[in-house]
Symmetry: C2
Subunit: 349 residues, 2 copies
């Protein structure tokens, strides 16, 4: 952390979604809020870090989530900030076991922003909702004077309903870890664009998309057998698995060779020495499922079109150290897959 | 609207919450979305412009609202962006007849922002929630590189429950118009600060606060007799009354002499030739109530501490022109109170 005459300032790492973000929010919010101001009785609040909150209403749970999206460039192979913002909030609802019900959005735009481009991005957001038959039921629109905002921030709110929220801390020893698709596609694509790489020629493409068609069949068929679900966005698979290991007190062991990574992503990131397991995904989920149903979950995902879905490892009872992630490398032997920290590349949301 | 070689750009007026905002959103969103993608069956969606959306869940309605807050300066007499963001979303829930249940927040901060100041603003947000016993159940935190954002944007999501949403279009001829407090306090205070006026000496203070203690007793006691409720933020009382007149097809007639305006606000705005009815409030509500209960509503508000509450006018059956607002001026005679347009002063959210 930086310092100057005792004053301290926000760094990019504070907002990167890794260790520094966790520490800042712990100190600034979580530790200050008394239990009843951060928890939901019989539901999921801020005290249970997860993809979304869950509030009991009648015999169901309302799932609610909010995220602010900024990305540069605004348009990329596979999507744009509009489809990204819609998909992201839909996915957070799904990851809590919720059926998406409605979206709200709050858009803040810089004065001088091209109106046609704004319209294009909003069309993209609406097209994503249209494909999913999810209504946009409310929102906000504001402008900031030129120079006070770099282009646009879209904040989306996802609302859904579930009979049973999926709380990731319920991951149990023996559970299998399943991914619905290849890792690192979105992060690698944005990074390449920021570095001026010809992404189309490189075959890079963001995976940004709603996970509804993969997740709803799995939620419907396997209900209680699903112990954890998350879409590994900022901080990638490494962040999700570390969160899970820590939250559930297990050790998560995954096999590097079993983790799907596209050849184009592997090639590009290999040149830079960046591990795809730390890069964001915007259209893939990680699931922790009872061992007895793992094969059936995989089959259900493949039938739903998730052709790269794979079982990549399992949660284990800790021997010495709980809360860590072990990665079995291609040449054998395990190493610890650390939680991401510092200024994650690329800065994406 | 500006133009250059056929290209058009976002102006500050587009985001000011007045006529241009309405036109832009109409063209860009509302007209493009088919009915089922903007409406809520049996509830309130984007097709019914109001303070919040209302979704039927079981035998109740979930009330949901989102707003992005930017304000300069960040701290002002009467509050700061933290208390403002919390109060604003609480009030939007109340204005739909909802009992606030929980808040979520998404904060985006500029790299280099003072950490102590950030902590102070978050403390203020939490203190507002603490006083209201409303939990913060989820959120997002991101940073943008230095120069890409002016300070901070806080987006808050308000969730609540109601047995009956207050839909403003249900204002009826004969209904009395009641305000819970003086008009223009927040807008006048922010404007004065931006102009370098010594606001403390001028006696100016923002009214930013949750309206819970005023609104819950009124909602509880008068239920169906409440036909419309809104907190007149951007665009002030003029915006709210014009929206209501248009939405309900009535004529709204108010008496300028009956509208409470603080002496400090009147004096300061008088010097600038600005009408307080166009300035934002962040802790006052306008209600449209059945004529038979107007006095009782006023009494209930005063008992709850709303000492400046007043009956200021009524909705009438239109003769020639429907959807207009008439203002009876001090010297007698009516003039049309136009809806705000252009670049509203001051730019506040």
């Amino acid at each position: 952390m930086n310092g100057q005459l005792g004053r301290r300032f926000v760094t990019l790492a504070h907002g990167a979604g890794g260790k520094e973000t966790q520490e800042l929010l712990d100190r600034m919010l979580f530790q200050k809020l008394e239990k009843k101001l951060k928890s939901v009785e019989g539901g999921v609040g801020l005290d249970s870090p997860d993809d979304a909150a869950a509030l009991p209403i009648g015999d169901q749970f309302l799932v609610a989530t909010v995220d602010s999206y900024t990305v540069s460039p605004l348009i990329f192979p596979g999507g744009d900030i509009g489809s990204l913002a819609a998909s992201g909030s839909i996915n957070d609802v799904l990851m809590m076991g919720g059926k998406p019900l409605a979206l709200l959005d709050a858009t803040v735009v810089e004065e001088g922003f091209d109106l046609d481009l704004l319209s294009q991005l909003m069309d993209s957001l609406m097209a994503t909702l249209r494909r999913e038959s999810i209504p946009l039921i409310g929102g906000d629109f504001k402008t900031m004077p030129k120079g006070q905002l770099d282009k646009i921030i879209i904040t989306t709110v996802g609302l859904g309903l579930t009979r049973r929220p999926i709380v990731d801390a319920e991951l149990k020893p023996g559970d299998k870890i399943v991914v619905t698709g290849s890792m690192g596609d979105h992060g690698a694509t944005i990074l390449a664009l920021q570095q001026g790489v010809d992404v189309l020629k490189s075959g890079l493409e963001s995976d940004a998309k709603p996970l509804t068609s993969f997740m709803l069949p799995v939620i419907d068929r396997f209900g209680k057998g699903l112990h954890a679900a998350r879409d590994p966005t900022r901080g990638g698979l490494a962040m999700t698995l570390n969160d899970w290991a820590k939250g559930s007190g297990t050790v998560v062991a995954v096999d590097e060779a079993a983790i799907p990574v596209k050849e184009s992503v592997r090639l590009y990131l290999g040149m830079l020495g960046i591990d795809p397991l730390y890069l964001a995904n915007e259209g893939a989920a990680v699931l922790g499922v009872e061992p007895g149903i793992a094969d059936a979950v995989l089959r259900t995902l493949k039938e739903a079109g998730a052709k790269d879905a794979a079982i990549i490892g399992e949660a284990r009872k800790p021997k010495e150290h709980r809360g860590i992630v072990l990665l079995k490398s291609g040449i054998g032997g395990f190493r610890i897959l650390e939680a991401p920290a510092g200024n994650l590349v690329p800065r994406i949301c």
